[in-house]
Amino acid sequence: MLLKKSFTRRNALHLVGSVLAASLIAHTGFGAGVTLRFASDSSGTGGAFIKALCDEWSQKTGNKVEIISRPQDATATLQQYQQYWAAKSGDVDVYQIDVIWQSIAGPHAVDLKKYFKADEISQHFPRIIDNNTVNGKLVSIPWFTDAGTLYYRTDLLEKYGYKEPPKTWEELAEMAKKIQDGERKAGKPDFQGFVFQGKASESVTCNALEWVYSYGGGVIIEPDKKVTINNPNAIKALDTARSWVGSISPAGVVTYGEEEARNVWQAGNAAFMRNWPYAYALGQDPKSAVAGKFDVTVLPKGGDNGKNAACLGGWNLMVSGYSKNPDAAADLVKYLDSADAQKKRAIDLSLLPTLPALYADPEVLAKNPWFKNMVEVFKNAVARPSTVTGADYNQISTAFFQNVNKVLTGGESGKDAVQQVERVGKRLVR
């Protein structure tokens, strides 16, 4: 009798226990359907692609993803994000952040080292990972990358007897002048030798950083907080750029952003262009005037003793430190960033992956043979001094681009410009 009772009680306990366990299992994992909000690109083919990926993940995990569209302008995007971070808002779980926002976003991000193993992290380009690590914390994982690239017209180079793209800026200036004069005489009055971004905005910071670095002038503020911009090489770089405006580049280049330069180039009115890789796929569109007539390579050096440079751009994925579902968010990030997803994006949209291995992938190369050239470009990637200046990055960038723009319009000498930038830089790292 006693035995039976205790047996029954034990059974009951077991029953209760297993029911409890069963219900626990049903509720672990990522919870029955959390809704994550993801702030990212949402329109155009890029947006459609992202949405499709998120839907796939949703189906696999039973969660939902709501996409919050960000403003087109990067600065406006940052402003929007900052409102959320200032309010410590859990309204957004995953953010798509620019490569230069790492320090600013840092305090509000989850350390992704918790979710990514070391060997997963090392599969990405090391320079980007370095850039994204602030005070030991991996603020965001690289999603797709970008670097300043030289576009050149293969047909025109051939026509004017050049076998290779220019190796130095001096060579480029020479080639550009000859081609420009020739084409203008042949009945194209709007033809320009070289178009780039001279507009007083982050765009010219990138361009000018490339010039300065390529002449051995440093990166404005070095990672060890030394302000190095005031040096003869940097001055030479800026003065050289000034000499292009009005001779091989149109006077209006000081108002050009990426799109303005691309419009001139794609209409067939430029021999050389400096731009981001996005222009490649657009240029190869059958309706473009330059389809099949161009290629890309790394930007020239500053003189024979200079270095190649490519300003690092690109977007990364970050998990909000205020998210109520960080595990689910990190899982979404992993999915979006997987090698498969990156490969698909490289093939469908010609956007550059952050995993060097994919640049040797035969399927990727079949669709984008020019990716071969990009590996060299990325090896020479130069990061802007955003990590070292943190939240003050915008101040130094603004001081830099405003003064560079002034040099380009002839309103200031290179010497004065670097002094002004140095003044602001010193104030910031004090």
Binding site: D41, S42, S43, G44, T45, G46, G47, E66, I68, S69, R70, P71, Q72, D73, A74, A76, Q79, Q80, Q83, A86, A87, S89, D91, G257, E258, E259, R262, N263, Q266, A267, W276, Y278, A281, L282, K287, S288, L349, L351
Partner: protein, 281 residues
């Protein structure tokens, strides 16, 4: 009032019509240019030809297939409409009091009202953001309307006060003699006289609310709440650098049309108000 058709010389009349033409061209040219661009195929947008070689409806069909754009049109209509309705209703009542009724602190209040319209939007941005979140009005239409009222209500009060002040007193006094209450005087006597002012102010307030950008950008984040200027500014091509110029132009044209219709409807009101505004005996 200039009345050229009746008395002036042909020369003056010709000059007058020339002036009209200049005004029309100056105002409409950029608009027409945008209209033409909205029908241009994308590949032709950067040619320097003034007359496009071909036309396309592609941009228009694209934007109407975009659910966000359509939603934003509805949002803008609701937000701007409510803002104006509330501003006119409360504003004209307040203006009547300030323009016509005895009140000891009139000067102070008017100064305060003027000050409130003076704030640069950027400086109240973060304060309003925090306030909206605290009241749970962030990312809602009501929240946005509230922030718009901050600027449109004082504006309405200020302008309508001037109108009420400029009205002649005889009608009012007559009504009081007849035993009307101050409120009745407002409703039946003075308000009808200020209709031109109401229409003008209402129209201006509507357009200002319709085109407002900074607050809409900051205080709405999900696609079902955004207004038109925000959505237009967020149109992008395959990459974030591209500007789909054709779509932007098409969207701008679509957005301008409700306003044009409003003006056309209300201009008859303006005319009626103008002719009725004169106190005839």
């Amino acid at each position: 009032m200039k009345d050229p058709d009746s008395k002036s010389s042909p020369v003056l009349r010709a000059l007058f019509y020339l002036l009209v033409l200049v005004i029309l061209v100056f105002n409409l040219f950029p608009f027409l240019y945008a209209v033409v661009s909205s029908f241009r195929p994308s590949s032709e947008l950067f040619s320097t030809d003034l007359i496009p070689k071909s036309l396309t409806f592609l941009h228009y069909s694209e934007i109407f297939r975009d659910a966000r754009f359509v939603a934003s049109l509805i949002n803008s209509i609701i937000v701007a409409g409510c803002t104006v309705a509330i501003a006119l209703a409360f504003g004209s009542l307040c203006a009547y009091a300030l323009g016509r009724l005895p009140f000891r602190f009139k000067g102070f209040v008017l100064y305060l009202v003027l000050t409130m319209t003076m704030f640069p939007q950027i400086s109240v941005l973060s304060g309003l953001f925090v306030m909206l979140k605290a009241l749970n009005l962030f990312n809602t239409r009501q929240g946005l309307i509230m922030t718009y009222l901050i600027f449109s209500l004082p504006f309405t009060i200020w302008v309508m006060t001037q109108y009420f002040r400029s009205l002649p007193r005889e009608l009012e006094e007559a009504a009081y003699v007849d035993g009307a209450s101050p409120l009745a005087v407002f409703w039946q006597v003075l308000l009808p006289l200020t209709v031109p002012g109401l229409v003008s102010t209402g129209l201006l307030a509507f357009i200002a609310a319709w085109n407002e950008f900074l607050f809409a950008l900051t205080f709405t984040v999900t696609d079902n709440m955004k207004t038109v200027p925000v959505v237009i500014s967020q149109f992008s091509g395959a990459t974030s650098y591209e500007q789909p110029w054709g779509s932007i132009m098409a969207a701008s044209m679509v957005v301008t049309i409700p306003l044009v219709i409003l003006v056309m409807i209300f201009q008859y009101r303006i005319v009626a108000g103008l002719t009725a505004g004169a106190v005839k005996g």
